[in-house]
Amino acid sequence: MDYFLTEEQIMIRDLARKIAQEKILPVRAELDEREEFPWPIIQCLAEADLFGVYLPEEYGGCGGGCFELCLAVEELSRVCGGVAVSYAASALGAFPILLFGNAQQKERYLPEIAQGKKLAAFALTEANAGSDAGGIQTTARLEGDEYVLNGTKQWITNGGEAHIYTVIAMTDRSKGSRGASAFIVEKGTPGFSFGKKEKKMGIRSSATRELVFTDCRIPKENLLAKEGMGFMVAMKTLDNSRPGIGAQAVGIAQGALDEALDYARERVQFGKPISSFQAIQHMMADMATQIEAARALTYAAARYIDSGAKDVSKVSAMAKVFASDVAMNVTTQAVQILGGYGYMREYPVEKMMRDAKITQIYEGTNQIQRNVIALSLIKERAQKR
């Protein structure tokens, strides 16, 4: 399919593909096995300017948007979902600053993020606050010119490796989700430490850690937007980032189909390559069709966001939910096509299946996405009446 990419978009896609093929492919299995954060690859992506594809030129970016980010994420994910999420999570951490930061905050943090000199991370989830973000227990108390943070964030992608964290904490617990605020916290701030590194099912080269705040004092200027806007900052951030999860899912699924196709053409049973059997052919046809539909929806959502539209929650959730369900289905089918080989770690598809699962869970479970979609539908209908 031709998605009528501009010359610059083709450059982004091709460059990400080249780095994925030459730098990530040879080490992905080892990174997964050793649960090792891919710093040399991050370095390489930074030198290639890929960390700035979605950031404005005035902050050292390339002037693209959500769609450009999706193109890069898809290509990296096609080879390794774990490396791709380490890249994409920096954008997730940068979006609150890009969308809600004031001029000083943008000038201070975005150029280093665009150059890939520093990674960013986004911290919303806690042990008792996942789908229900209203349950956040981390607090931020204003004392003079400083906010004092206390609490623990859980499962933070790029935790420990990133330098710049956007953290959601309660400034007024009595107001529920309206009492949440967003802050920028830098690594190295006294009172800010990291808890245990999680051992995960998939995306194992990515870092997932606890952030621990113990009377952590940050300057008042690090508040993003205004007090009480934290929940809104988080929701708008996720609206912008979800097509990125869609792109990750599309990439993982495409990578799995590539492997399944190669295998099916080579594997001989009953005297013929298994690709000549209709049972396999129909599986592959369905996989390819689903992937293309997921890609089209993801690209459309990203382009809609980049158009400056305001009502993006629904399409953004649709792209995420559809593409991630496709990724889970397609990777499962790829393992099936490879049969016993597919189940072995020597072949890459079992990793793809493990990597795919998280796309149905993080940045809002697919159940929560369906809630978002349904609520939008009902609201839209009610407004028309």
Partner: protein, 263 residues
């Protein structure tokens, strides 16, 4: 400091096929790339540019499409590019190529360093670099695996030259020409901003008339080497790996070598 990098566009020879009738390379469908060893020359120029500050220029003689290779070098970070293309340059051997490049470089003077890859993967001669230095009347160091120091005050360079059984440390005055081997560095990927700049960059094209010099010395007419024929060497048979206990393997090996009258 001014650094000139000479590159060649070559067919990607990972899987090159030779036409059995004409004995020439089948070029259709084979993508063109920068000669891999030249990418190390580009990288080394960029590293010294970053270290000492330098203006960098990439130069190539070839057909008009060699411009793509020049743009790729620019996307890696080289500042300027120049293409030498003219029908009269066609069919040049290493001597005529070096002569043509030398005329262009004389016009680009002053310069401090010229980097070339050790050799091209298509011709494999490793002659153009040194021959170019001779045409220019400057010193050269071939097979450089490390540049220890460039002293712009004293106008000297100290380089490690790879030998079969070790390496030599050589000092040279500047300007000098260095051909590099792949041990010297790891070439970077192009950057997005570099690619965008490369897309827009005006690349001047010089022909025979721009260079001056003797037209008879260009291209085929200026080439002392004449190709008599090209053929594909027979494919090497697969090796055999002996397995089993070491003493038994050794015995089998000796018997086999004796049978073939090798020992």
């Amino acid at each position: 400091m001014k650094i000139i990098v000479c590159i060649k566009q070559v067919p990607e020879t990972g899987n090159v096929k030779i036409d059995p009738q004409t004995h020439t390379l089948i070029r259709s469908g084979v993508p063109s790339i920068i000669n891999p060893l030249d990418t190390y020359a580009i990288e080394e120029a960029l590293r010294w540019k970053e270290k000492l500050g330098a203006s960098t220029l990439v130069l190539s003689m070839g057909p008009p499409q060699a411009e793509e290779a020049l743009r790729e070098a620019v996307s890696m970070g080289i500042d300027q590019a120049l293409l030498l293309t003219d029908r009269r340059f066609a069919g040049a051997d290493t001597y005529a190529t070096a002569y043509t490049l030398s005329l262009a470089i004389r016009k680009l003077a002053p310069y401090d360093l010229i980097f070339c890859g050790k050799q091209a993967i298509d011709g494999d001669t490793a002659q153009v670099g040194p021959a170019l230095a001779e045409h220019l009347g400057i010193p050269h160091i071939a097979y450089v695996k490390k540049i220890e120091d460039i002293d712009l005050q004293k106008a000297t360079v100290r380089a490690h030259r790879l030998m079969e059984d070790g390496y030599e440390i050589l000092d040279s005055r500047l300007p000098a020409l260095l051909t590099v081997v792949k041990e010297i560095n790891e070439p970077r990927f192009p950057s997005l901003k570099g690619k965008m700049r490369a897309k827009k960059l005006e690349i001047p094209i010089w022909g025979a008339d721009d260079l001056g010099g003797e037209v008879a010395n260009f291209g085929l007419s200026g080439s002392p080497t004449q190709v008599k024929g090209i053929f594909a060497p027979p494919a090497r048979g697969k090796g055999e790996i002996l397995t089993g206990e070491a003493p038994l393997i050794a015995q089998t090996l000796i018997e086999r070598l004796k049978a073939q009258k090798i020992i």
